[in-house]
């Protein structure tokens, strides 16, 4: 009914945090040493999550328009016009909506850990010109 709204709320929060993190990283002095392993910046990781969340939200919102659950006029959600339907919608948001947001966040967390592991592995490779 409106399960995508939970992910949309998460997407708004994560986008704000990502922008803040990006600003913070830009203002910090960048010190790169040859031996230091290349780390994936937090802002980059958060960008992955925002892309997944916004992408999912846009495509699911389209699905809801398709099924007539979202309309372009007030109150935009057809379930809001009836108290019984509204209660069902809130229950759906609390169950399916939260599960969707949790699945995406857990997958993103695993992805970040995998990216860190890959970067650590890559940095152990011999430098160019160095014998294997």
């Amino acid at each position: 009914m409106a399960c995508f709204l939970v992910s949309a709320a998460e997407a708004v929060v994560v986008t704000a945090v990502e922008k803040h993190e990006e600003k913070k990283e830009k203002s910090e002095e960048i010190r790169v040493t040859v031996d230091a392993p290349v780390k994936v910046p937090m802002s980059r990781k958060l960008k992955w999550l925002t892309y997944m969340l916004w992408g999912g939200v846009i495509l699911l919102a389209y699905e809801h328009v398709w099924h007539g659950e979202v309309v372009p006029w007030f109150p935009f959600l057809t379930a809001m016009s009836d108290p019984g339907d509204a209660a069902e919608m809130f229950h759906e948001m609390a169950t399916i909506g939260v599960t969707m947001a949790v699945i995406i966040t857990v997958c993103w967390f695993i992805m970040c850990k995998a990216a860190d592991a890959i970067m650590a592995r890559k940095s152990q490779l011999p430098a160019v010109g160095q014998e294997l």
Partner: protein
């Protein structure tokens, strides 16, 4: 069916992203969009399975057709979003050079007529 079509789209785009020569096509956005939507529909499918059990895997043909149609529409929408972003950011400068060329030819024509 919508979940299945989106997952296949995500897999195909991910393979294309992995085998790309450079990042000018900005496939990353498409990869994240399809995987994000797939994961969200997976959540929906989990609840659908809990509610309907085995019946979840045997939908009515009319529902399946509608879902397939929806799945294809979703893929089309994602592709349009990606394409619009690609044209606006114009990483290869194709749009810019094309506009410059047309402006230059227009000014040449105006100079000839004057």
């Amino acid at each position: 069916m919508t979940l299945l079509i989106t997952v296949f789209a995500a897999i195909i785009v991910t393979i294309k992203w992995y085998t790309r020569k450079d990042d000018t096509m900005q496939l990353g956005l498409l990869v994240f969009m399809f995987w994000g939507a797939s994961l969200m529909w997976l959540g929906d499918a989990i609840f659908g399975y809990i509610e309907e059990q085995a019946e979840f895997f045997a939908p009515a043909p009319a529902d399946m057709l509608n879902d397939a149609y929806l799945g294809l529409s979703v893929v089309a929408l994602a592709l349009v979003i990606w394409l619009v972003r690609l044209l606006i950011t114009d990483p290869k400068g194709v749009v810019k050079s094309s506009i410059q060329k047309s402006v230059a030819s227009d000014s040449k024509k105006k100079a000839k007529t004057a």
